[in-house]
Symmetry: C2
Subunit: 376 residues, 2 copies
């Protein structure tokens, strides 16, 4: 929560739920990443929050951009990034989208299979590709499935195939899991990456880059390590696995760049109980899983909720959204302590909501409009 956000809300009193995003925090976060990992290039993960103001600010600060689709590439270009500062980081691309991206000047592509290498080779001849490897994601709060990446031995074949098809086998990427609380989580994957560099080097293919991915956390309810701690730990791991042949590195922060910059203003629509033996309070907000808080899925991300009843006694509540969908419950397995003095109509501020909220919101589920956003 920043003074600028508080002042904006007090002055504007916007109707309905909305996100307010403070660009000063985004700037601070960018500079922290650069200080903590001075030898890595920052590729902002556009999917976390593609607001034009965020992209322009970051483009001006010299950031690069990790894009998931042609639309995101176009947004990054629009914001002032040159194509050499853009990576098409999705391992799942339509062949015609590879062609579109290449036409726009993008020449860095993620792959994790030979089928994807073949698309890139056909549509983006000579481009650089990096292969994503699987990573177990232990320690992450929004853990990754096996959806992206392949086994490290297979990555060797994928990169060799790329080189054979006229592409530049450029590097290895991995992702340690989103909202990663363990600063050492990069070590194992860096060991695998170094081994891939070694084996391919013996075959005359000299990789240049390790993409360290994202995973850098935002502070929700629990304290998180400072970004400097991540920087030191990653630097040590790189040195221990690559010795004096340090590769280029890039990082792809998304949540870590914008999460802490945003606050969602919401309103208590109803507080009720169910009767019988169940005296737990249900607190219904005017935003839920379908209005932007999709990351409460399985109660993964636990946002700080700030009320005007600071310091009041509290009891555990079930927190739910406003739609007629019974899956639209935010916190139930682990109820959320809220003040006993909380009332219908009260405002609740949800902190740490700058990432993965606006674009996750549904178009019009139950007739509720998507999340409004104000970038200040």
């Amino acid at each position: 929560m920043t003074a600028r956000i508080r002042e904006f809300l007090a002055a504007r009193r916007p109707e309905g739920p909305c996100l307010v995003l403070d660009l000063d925090v985004v700037r601070d976060n960018f500079l922290s990443f650069r200080r903590a990992l001075p030898d890595s290039r920052v590729f902002y993960a556009v999917k976390a929050n593609p607001a034009p103001e965020v992209l322009s600010l970051l483009a001006g600060l010299g950031s690069n951009f990790d894009c998931a689709s042609v639309a995101e590439i176009e947004m990054a270009l629009e914001a002032g990034a040159t194509p050499d500062r853009i990576s098409f980081g999705n391992t799942i691309k339509k062949e015609r989208d590879v062609a579109r991206a290449f036409l726009l000047g993008v020449d860095l592509f993620a792959v994790d299979s030979i089928a994807e290498v073949e698309k890139v080779a056909r549509q983006a001849p000579g481009a650089r590709v990096f292969c994503r490897i699987l990573c177990d994601g232990a320690g992450a709060e929004w853990p990754l499935s096996r959806k992206f990446g392949c086994e490290p031995e297979m990555a060797i074949d994928v990169l060799e195939a790329a080189q054979q098809r006229g592409l530049a086998a450029y590097g290895v990427s991995f992702h340690v899991g989103s909202q990663q609380g363990n600063t050492e989580a990069w070590d194992g994957a860096l060991a695998s990456a170094a081994e891939i560099f070694r084996v391919l080097g013996e075959r005359g293919i000299h990789l240049k880059m390790v993409n360290l991915g994202g995973g850098f956390p935002t502070r929700y309810l629990r304290d998180i390590p400072a970004v400097e701690a991540y920087g030191r730990s990653i630097e040590n791991a790189i040195r221990s696995h690559f010795g004096n042949r340090i590769p280029e590195t890039i990082i792809e922060p998304g949540r870590g760049m914008v999460g802490s910059a945003g606050v969602i203003k919401t309103e208590v629509v109803l507080i009720s109980q169910k009767g019988g033996a169940d005296d737990m309070r249900w607190v219904f907000l005017d935003i839920g899983k379908f209005g932007g808080l999709a990351e409460t899925m399985d109660e993964a991300i636990r946002y700080p909720l700030v009320t005007r009843h600071e310091g009041a006694a509290s009891t555990p509540c079930i927190v739910a959204g406003p739609t007629c969908d019974s899956a639209d419950v935010l916190y139930e397995k682990t109820p959320y302590d809220l003040p006993i003095t909380l009332e219908i109509g009260d405002e609740i501020l949800i902190e740490g909501t700058g990432a993965y909220t606006t674009t996750y919101a549904s178009v019009a589920f139950n007739g509720f409009p998507p999340l409004q956003a104000y970038v200040i």
Copy 2:
């Protein structure tokens, strides 16, 4: 799948994933409900698919409308429904939205708590309210949480409070769970409803209506009972619990009205494997959890996938969406058998997708546009 949908897709070849909805099927479904439950009024659950063409068709056929928000009420009015044919069926309403609805002429409101009764009493004096009771939802594929409804004993207090505050205590509602496969599922809740009628009758409050809710299924992979079987079973249960004092009844089909009318056209973006001991194929489509298939959450709804390889040998696959979000996996715990001859670029038709798809789609997650829809 209907001939009209096949012909539309063959003629128009729309780019990107899209839903095609056949209004003839919606009409047939409406008429089936009316035949199967001739004594019940149909309130279409607008949230299932609020396409203007669907609402206009149903308004013309004489349907009533169950609305979750003021926006849905306005859509129903726009489509030609008069306000007396509209129910504000969400138990979680902002007080100012109750006022707006009442101003538009709506006078039937759902409640499940005294706090909600008080809002309605203040903003919609004299309106009719029905109280939703909890129902265990056994037998449902998209089971309901305890989010909506209260214990039956509490419903008595809620309805009595409504009457005392100048509202008309009008009836009882419940929901047996979406995609309900058990035609007998209504029996227990009808017993509770009859008991509420009896107790309140002794206090001089004579309820008039039972809202039987939705839950009527769409055929996905498994066969479902015919709507006539639901009609017979519900009629028997009403007679057994209410004797010769049969109340008015209403039903609120959503999925059962439009689910079978829609087909989503999608494209295979990538087929790959992960290497190592894991030789399972991953099949990535250009639509996923954030593009309209949110009901695959926890693999709840298992849609039929139709390929051009009818009859070919098949093996289990993991099916996933196109976004850079590792939660965007549709079927993994229970893999999906797909033809071994399936290829990148193939079209896959997803049947039974007329309900809970277009409006569930995210605004622009990963830069992918929301689901396009064609109503024919």
